[in-house]
Subunit: 440 residues, 2 copies
């Protein structure tokens, strides 16, 4: 499927953030790149972008992006970009003969809306519009939004000034070439060359299906909307199904703030993984130095590293840099970090009480910690199947809990009890997992 | 697809092994169960078995087997079992109206032949016969085998006494109901009620396709053939693609002999895993005792456990007891065993040289050993893709090598050098794997 993106307007209310609105980076990625990636995710394989204001700059960016993503992007030019937005759509008239996705360069939306539209079946002469039925949606600017009236799955009418309305236009369309005819008709008969004008004509004929949105959508046209869009994207980072309780309620809220900051810079997720790992190694070294001050510092550093350890995945998701290798690299470094933190603590205790039992406990803690990670995948899969059946939440005993225990042990100078707790909990949990798996 | 199995004959040449030939256990599993499981593997979903000699005993067994495997097995009775074997086939005439697999209870064959036949398309009035074109096949008893002459993919003629032949009848057929007509005709016209008689009639009309066998097949009808069949099944255990060099050339040849013995008894693969694990734990304890004698004993016991560690998977494959849990259970126990063996060795050295460096080396060996296992799956998948492209053999640095190193270190009383070697090799290999994965 082809996709047409309108990126011709001036966007004057966001001018202080950058010279060209589609190129303004939101969490490190230009708006238009976010829209293009969402379109690709929805199944689009060829993209046309109508440029106007600051067109050359945008076309340069698109050329680079097309090479980077190995896709076809054809830039079109609308010299009349200061007039109604329908003229931009008409620019693409000769390129689009089948149903196509029509998007605005400054409207971000949940990929599920893109999927819903690309899989929607259009009848002849029809278009479909992604709509938001939540008329109290806090992400919507009530002053500026285009309102719609929906009845029986069809748009009845559309307009900014509508008083009788029950939804909003998200600016995400599935069009047939009928849209071009309707635009020409609206322009010629009522002198209205806006997209809304064309939709109004088609709606009057019952030819505009309404496809309700799932998830967020934001029209990023002023600083307030910009911040809302940022918040919506950051909010998505919270729902990681395999977060343990410490991650969810303590680490994640902090790491998301850090990720928001990091996303603006050229820091890769793997660099973040490595930085967190080095912090853990320094913490382990501090533990092994002996003395309460070093222990305290090490504990704080270890917990800090554990928080930062969430940022690699978050930045990867925010900046489309997720990779299998990245996840694996992070996991391998975490295993080394876990082992060294526990070895550092063991050494710390051995410095004052050099006896075999301490050594045994320390090694058993390292073994237990490894075994828990080693058995995690198999067990998680098993539990997911089971708990989904019973509708229960899944509680994981992971790295987040382990490092918090280490932090508490260091701060309270209770290293040996924490090591013993880790030995007992981690090894018993491993044996319990084997039991559960054998019964399954 | 349905399947007909002939289990009516007396099998007098194997009578010293058990009262009823189809029930004679070969590596712990009765012949007829092996044939039934191979049929199921080829896509069969309903089974008819013609019984005769010792019929009641066989029917009792089949009832239990049907419940155990949750499949439908219908026993039929041929009272004329002492006469030609075609009469047994005719017993099933009223039950089989579509193409069906026809097997002998005492003919074992590679599952691939079953697949080749069930996916073979029969034309009307035709049957297909699994044939062996290797006329020097050492598994074949030249005195007793049924010979065939194949031309252009069709059987021309068949018979034990053929002088001009180029293959053997494997006793594995895909039949249409045409076989019943041919049997009746052969019986009525030439007085020959054998299956070969019917095949001869169909072959004369060009109605018997030849499907060449892949892998082994054995007609288990005397003690010599019985031993050949056992050897063929054991031989299959050798081709495990992820065996390391020590497994392949040292451990596997021994463990297969042990497995042959163990398969006869009611020992489960998980019990074998557990036994091997306990041996490793005792070996670790012996290491920690100190002194050369305990070290030597521990080393021998550790290597013994490593050999036995191969038997769980072998017995599981020989006795159709493979399970995801079994493989995982074995892997988890192996990780504990690895860690304790290395910890035992570390303790052994600390007894005579109690210093921090030894401790550090010991813990690093445990960490390195864990990391190698932790990174193995990801890395193996990666390498398999690559090396399959280049056609190279894959060399693994796994548990087999690690335990052999421990054994050598213990026997030669060179514990510290072995620990250092493990630290260096295992951790460098882990880092190398991360590098390779990141470049991929």
């Amino acid at each position: 499927m082809k996709c047409l993106i309108i990126a011709a307007g001036k966007g004057s209310r966001l001018q202080q953030r950058g010279p060209s609105k589609p190129l303004i980076p939101l969490l490190g990625i230009p708006l238009i790149e976010r829209v293009i990636r969402t379109a690709l995710d929805a199944g689009v394989d060829e993209i046309f972008v109508v440029t106007g204001y600051q067109g050359e700059q945008i076309r340069d960016f698109l050329e680079g992006l097309a090479a980077r993503l190995a896709i076809r992007i054809t830039p079109l030019v609308n010299d009349e970009w200061e007039k109604d937005n329908g003229l931009s759509v008409l620019t693409a008239r000769d390129y689009l003969h089948d149903p196509f996705l029509l998007l605005m360069a400054d409207h971000l939306f949940d990929p599920r809306l893109g999927h819903a539209l690309t899989t929607h079946a259009l009848t002849d002469g029809e278009i479909a519009l992604g709509i938001d039925l939540d008329t109290r949606n806090p992400l919507v600017d009530m002053e500026d939004v285009t309102r719609i009236k929906v009845e029986d799955g069809k748009i009845r009418t559309i307009g900014k000034g509508l008083v009788d309305f029950n939804g909003f236009d998200t600016g995400v369309f599935l069009c047939s070439p009928a849209i071009f005819k309707a635009l020409a008709q609206s322009k010629d008969t009522v002198g209205d060359a806006t997209l809304s004008g064309a939709v109004r004509i088609l709606a009057a004929k019952g030819c505009v299906s309404a496809v309700p949105t799932r998830g967020f959508w934001v029209d990023v046209d002023d600083p307030k909307a910009f911040n809302k869009a940022e918040a919506a994207l950051l909010d998505h980072l919270r729902d990681k199904s395999n977060d343990g309780p410490v991650s969810r309620y303590l680490n994640r809220p902090i790491s998301i703030r850090v990720s928001r900051y990091l996303a603006q810079y050229d820091v890769t997720p793997n660099q973040i993984s490595l930085f967190s790992f080095l912090c853990s190694m320094i913490a382990a070294g501090l533990f092994a130095l002996g003395g309460y001050l070093a222990l305290l510092l090490g504990g704080v550093l270890a917990q800090f590293a554990s928080v930062i350890d969430g940022c690699d995945g978050e930045v990867a998701r925010l900046k489309y840099q997720s990779s299998d290798f990245g996840g694996w690299f992070d996991a391998v470094l975490d295993r080394y970090a876990d082992a060294f933190l526990l070895f550092g603590l063991t050494w710390h205790v051995l410095l004052t009480e050099p006896n075999g039992w301490i050594l045994f406990i320390g090694v058993m803690a390292i073994i237990g910690s490894f075994m828990l990670s080693y058995t995690a995948d198999k067990y998680d899969n098993l539990m997911r199947e089971r708990f989904e059946l019973r509708g229960m939440a899944m509680i994981r005993m992971g790295r987040d809990v382990r490092v918090l225990l280490i932090f508490i042990g260091a701060v309270m100078n209770l290293v040996l009890p924490v090591l013993v707790a880790i030995v007992v909990v981690m090894n018993i949990e491993t044996i319990r997992r084997m039991k559960v798996a054998s019964d399954a």
